[in-house]
Each structure stands twice: as C-alpha cells, then as structure tokens.
C-alpha cells in the first residue's frame, strides 16, 4: 500500500460523498472465504470482461505455487473455510494444478472457469483432484441461454464447448454450477429456468447452482452508480444483510508489479484504494468504504461471487 493510498483513505472524497455525507462502509468481521486471482491471462478476450483479461495480459500476474503458499497458511490460521479461484482463466496458469492440490489438502475449493481448451487439455490432471481430502467445485461461465448471444462475446463454438466441459466434469464426479449474466429488468426465475432446461438437455441435474451478475463494466470504468451513504446502509440494509457483503467475510489475493497484495474483494482490483496490504492480518482491520461503482451492485442487487 503506498503512502498516497493511506493518505487518501483519511481524506474527504474517500470518506464522504460529493454532498458531504458519510459514505457507507463495511467493517469486516471474519475471513471465511479467501479468493485468489490467478492472473488476467486468459485464452479468450471477451469484450465485456470485467478484468480486461486476454491472452498474454499481465495487469494482474499469473500466480506461482510459492506466491500462494504463505497466504494459504495465514488464512488457515485466521479460520478460513474455503479457497476460491478466479482469473482470467485459472487453467492457463502453469502452476494452477499444484496450487489447487495444495489448497484441497486443507479446505474445499471453488474454481471459476470458461470451460474451454485450457481446462479440456488438463483434464487428466483434474480428475485425480477427486482423491484429495476436500472437494473442488467448478463454476462455468455461460453468459446467456442463447448460443449465438454467448458466442458473440466469447467466440463461435464456445457455448457448445463450455456445456461439453460441464457435462464431462459432472460425469467425472465434480459438482458444477453456472455463472450467467443478468439483464437489466429481467425475470430472474424465468432466466434461471432456461438454464435449468439446458442443464437437463445436457444430462446435468436441474438443481445445480446458478449465480448471475449484472454488467460490471471493464476495469478502470467509472460507472455512474449512485453514491452509498452511511444512512443507506442502515435504511436499506440490516445487520444480517450487511453481513452478506463479500467484503465482510472474504478477501482477494493477487500479484501486481511482482508483489503479492490483498484486496477488499473480487470486484475492486482495478482501484488501488482497495489494496489493503501485503498480508491477510494487515488487511483484516481495514474498513471497506463503498465508493467503487461495483460496490453499488452489491448494495442494490446483492452481487456476490460466493456461493454462500
């Protein structure tokens, strides 16, 4: 964390809205889930990618086993219950299988994947993960139930490939889920139902988890979300719903400029003000002020990368 960042955290624009009201915040209570960002390298280059990931990208660098090990140990000391992995595409990262093997000896894991060639090519290494002490679940991105709409973003053929991978993972004995995009004003149940029909058509049980996300915009976008004040957090939220904010119970670890850093959650890694330090213990006491435009998605729609 730079001195600039520390000073900024004590400054008015960080703590107060444009109208001078106190901004809403979350005071993290615990660490039940630790996310690792495996890097912004991906085999695809989806134009909507909230991480700006693409082949060869190094904005967030690829993790190595030795980068991850100390954070796993520290998280275990802090009582973590699950390790989760996102990218980029985690299976592009050379050390990823070794990283998963280490994590799975300690806790259950969740892996977000686009379900295409990088995972396909490592299937022989993936299946033996079933023999480790804890289970790994895979969440596959299938943006829309409409093949053409999915492929327009992810490239022709990738809808079919992602479903085929999901089926292979299911048949091998893994629990799978779907990450989909949420349209403005959609009927959530009707949209989920279309996915459930597709699951059934692909031989996957209808009751698998479906997690949906609004458009988070690409990294560095400012968005035009309303500002969240302290009173918003008490008027529209309760103690119970505040506890469900990802930044209350999780952190994300990633590598930028050759240094391992802890960020407040999975959605704010494009904003250095959410860099909470170089160790988990350093990061635990930091109050998370809800100024990022993606914080509004959590505030308004309960957006969460978790499967809590």
């Amino acid at each position: 964390m730079t001195t600039d960042t520390i000073e900024f955290r004590q400054s008015n624009p960080w703590l107060e809205t444009a109208k001078g009201e106190k901004r809403g915040y979350i005071q993290p209570a615990k660490l039940t889930e630790l996310w690792f960002h495996t890097g912004t390298i991906c085999n695809l280059r989806c134009p909507f990618c909230l991480e700006g990931s693409k082949p060869g990208d190094t904005r967030i660098q690829a993790l190595k086993l030795d980068d991850v090990r100390p954070f796993i140990e520290e998280a275990l000391d802090l009582g973590v219950e699950q390790f989760s992995f996102t990218g980029g595409e985690p299976f592009v990262v050379k050390d990823f299988i070794k990283i998963l093997q280490l994590a799975l000896t300690h806790r259950p894991c969740l892996v977000l994947t686009n379900g295409t060639e990088p995972l396909f090519n490592r299937f022989a290494d993936v299946v033996p993960l079933l023999d480790l002490p804890h289970p790994v679940r895979f969440r596959i991105s299938i943006d829309y139930p409409d093949e053409q709409r999915h492929d327009a973003g992810r490239g022709p053929g990738n809808f079919r490939r992602a479903w085929a991978t999901m089926k292979r993972l299911h048949d091998a004995g893994f629990t799978v889920s779907v990450a989909r995009q949420r349209d403005k004003d959609e009927d959530v149940n009707a949209a989920d139902e279309q996915f459930r029909d597709l699951m059934e058509a692909h031989g996957i049980p209808r009751d698998r988890t479906i997690v949906s996300f609004p458009d988070f915009l690409t990294p560095g976008s400012t968005g035009h979300a309303p500002e969240i004040t302290e009173s918003c957090m008490t008027t529209y939220h309760t103690e119970e719903t505040r506890a469900d904010f990802m930044c209350n119970y999780s952190k994300m670890v990633l590598k930028k400029n050759g240094r391992m850093r802890v960020y407040a959650c999975t959605l704010v890694d494009d904003d250095e003000r959410y860099d909470l330090g170089g160790t988990l213990s350093d990061s635990m006491n930091a109050r998370i002020v809800l100024t990022h435009h993606r914080c509004f998605s959590c505030f308004a729609y309960g957006a969460s990368c978790s499967e809590k």
Partner: protein, 221 residues
C-alpha cells in the same frame, strides 16, 4: 512483463502466409507456447504460437494475414529493425505433453501447423506416428516438405486438386488415422475441424485425456 524486440525479417510463403522472424534475446519457451504480439498502438494484441525450435537462435512465427484484421496485417508490414511489443510466453497446448514415449498423432489446418513445427524443430528424434495437414490451396501447405522429412504426412487440399494431396477436407482423412488407446492426439487450427475430430475420436472410444486441442481460428473467420 511485456518486452520490445526487433524484427529480423518478414518472409512471404504465399500472398497471405508469412513467417515473422524476431530477435530472441534469450527468451525461453517450450513447443506449443504462444506470445501475444501487439499492433502499432501497443494496445491491441493477438496470440501467436512459436514455430521455431526451443533451441533455435531466432524466434519464428507462421502467420496468415487476415485482411481487415487488427494485428496480422500490421505484423506483415513490419520492416527489418522495427520494434514489436511481445508478452511473456504462455500456453495450454503442448505437443508431446503426454511424455517422451507416448505415441502421438498431429492434426493441423493452415497455420495451425506452427506448434508442430516448433515441436519437430526441438525434438526431431521423437516424431509423431503421423500428421494430418489440411489447407485450402496447395501453396498454403508451406510446411509439407519439412513434415514429410520427419513423419508419415497426409495432406488434404480443400479447394483444388494437387498430385501429392487428397482433394477434400482433412476430416475426410480420419478413417486413415492410426487409432489406439495409448496414442495422444494433438489438434490445432480451425475450431470447426477441432470439434469434428474430437467428436469423431470420442466416437471411436478415445479417452478425452488423450485429446489435446488449440483453436487458432473460429469458424466464422
């Protein structure tokens, strides 16, 4: 982090397929690895697979110029001594990844032959059992002579007849493929070919852990 490297040469094989030679500057890689090469603006980039051997003095890429594309026409226009922005190597497709003694079959369309050239230029003593190589016109088969020196190569040319090639699609040659559960199949190039060959191999009882794939081009391109 990205590097800037100098162009040694751009060598044209046909009016659309060229080889880009870059200075190596000690860059290590393994066959199957790619790098992202950048357009003039330093922003737009596309992945390209190494076609040179892991111990060769220069870096070589075999590229099809896509008219109207953001990156391949720019790379095609570079002159000796020009700078190119290059990402660190990465990859998820490694011909021969199943091990030194695992028998292999290579199947490629177009410039999808690049990673197999890199493999053969690195491990010439461990050739695949056979290679199926599909192109549109005979002149596009820029690697045919080299492949034939190393392994049993079956060439398919889809848009014209040629004395040394089957006239038709590469997938028509599938019945000629050597099939055995211990063989590993490496597919690279057009995604439609990759999907069809995968389905066919699975129908023949080949386990998917023995199928390895790299899509260069989507069917609509």
């Amino acid at each position: 982090m990205e590097n800037t490297v100098k162009v040694i040469d751009v060598v044209w094989h046909t009016d659309a397929i060229y080889e880009l030679l870059l200075e190596r500057n000690g860059q290590a890689f393994v066959p199957g690895d790619c790098v992202a090469l950048y357009a003039a603006d330093g922003q737009a980039s596309r992945p390209y697979s190494f076609a040179s051997g892991a111990d060769d003095p220069d870096l070589r890429f075999l590229i099809r110029r896509m008219d109207g594309g953001e990156v391949s026409p720019h790379l095609a226009s570079l002159k000796t001594g020009a700078d190119v922005k290059v990402s660190p190597p990465f990859g998820w497709f490694r011909p021969g990844q199943a091990g030194d003694n695992a028998p292999a079959v290579f199947i490629a369309t177009g410039t999808g032959i690049a990673p197999f050239l890199s493999y053969l230029r690195t491990f010439s003593s461990r050739p695949p059992l056979m290679c199926l190589y599909g192109v549109r016109e005979r002149k596009d088969a820029v690697a045919a002579a080299f492949l034939r020196e190393h392994c049993d190569t079956r060439l398919a040319v889809s848009r014209e007849t040629a004395p040394d090639a089957y006239h038709g699609r590469i997938t028509d040659l599938l019945p000629e493929l050597r099939l055995a559960p211990e063989i590993h199949y490496y597919l690279c190039g057009l995604d439609a070919m990759i999907d069809q060959v995968t389905d066919w191999l699975e129908e023949q009882g080949i386990d998917i852990t023995h199928i390895h794939r790299e899509c260069f081009f989507n069917a609509e391109v």
